[in-house]
């Protein structure tokens, strides 16, 4: 039981707690806060694996931009509590155990295959940003340019959608 394992279980517990809280919260703003908790916990897990740049990008982009966008939209639309429409009991009593059983099956299958998977970074080895940038700009240069085009299309789409009907 070394330190990495303890930190892993701690962060994993925080992430699962955030995800469960997203399901159980009634107000969307509290759900957004729970999702932010999940993202920060995942950034901690990325740091544990040694992917420091991805951890920083996760917090800056996901936690600092995408979730802020969600929070803005929730405030703009003044989203209140969820309405109580007819919730079929069958879906509740049958669906949730089935979902848990499916997850348990996948988890058991994964745990049994521990020998054949490549291991994560050895103790203390961090992936340097230089390695990532060499890959990104040399081997993956074409997808990189495509994503910049994608962002341009998204910006134009958002601007068009946000215009008022004049």
């Amino acid at each position: 039981m070394n330190a990495s394992l303890i930190i892993f279980f701690l962060l994993a517990a925080v992430a699962v707690f955030g995800a469960v809280s997203l399901i159980l919260q009634r107000e969307p703003i509290h759900g957004a806060l729970s999702l932010i908790v999940v993202m920060v916990a995942l950034a901690g897990l990325y740091l544990l694996i040694g992917a420091e740049f991805v951890a920083a990008v996760q917090i800056i982009v996901y936690g600092g931009a995408v979730m802020v966008l969600f929070v803005f939209v929730i405030m703009l639309l003044n989203a209140g509590e969820e309405e109580r429409t007819n919730f079929s009991k069958l879906a509740g009593f049958g669906g949730i155990p089935l979902a848990l059983a499916l997850s348990g099956l996948i988890a058991a299958a994964l745990m049994r295959s521990s020998g054949s998977l490549p291991s994560t970074a050895s103790h203390g080895a961090l992936t340097s940003t230089k390695t990532l940038s060499m890959l990104l700009f040399k081997d993956f240069a074409y997808p990189f340019e495509l994503t910049s085009f994608l962002i341009l299309v998204a910006i134009l789409g958002a601007v068009v959608l946000a215009q008022r009907e004049n």
Binding site: N2, S4, L5, F8, A12, A15, V16, A19, L22, I23, P28, G31, A32, L35, V38, L42, L45, L48, I49, A51, F53, V54, V57, V61, Y62, V66, L69, F70, V73, I74, L77, E82, T85, A91, I96, L100, L102, S103, I106, A107, L110, M111, L117, P118, S119, T120, S122, T131, L132, L135, F140, P143, T147, L150, I151, A154, G157, A158, L161, A162
Partner: protein
Amino acid sequence: MVPTNYYLVLSAILFGLGIVAFVFKRNIITMFMAIELMLNAVNLAFVAFGKPDGQVFVLFVVVVAAAEAAVGLGIIIMTARNRRSLNVERVDLMKL
């Protein structure tokens, strides 16, 4: 050290929780947040193998998720304004 399959199990659990949230919630914005949770679970699976290729792909997934959030939230704002409700069960007819 933490074995790789621990990360994969966590990723599967988070993905499952994202599916449960997507199916059982009725608010459009909460369902969209469940989609983001699923994308994050998949990101964790990519990074768990420790190779830099996975991390580069995670950067692409993050960019796609951000672009999708921008456009998707724009559509949600338009839909909510036209139908005056954020309940996804009210968006069941083409007619307003």
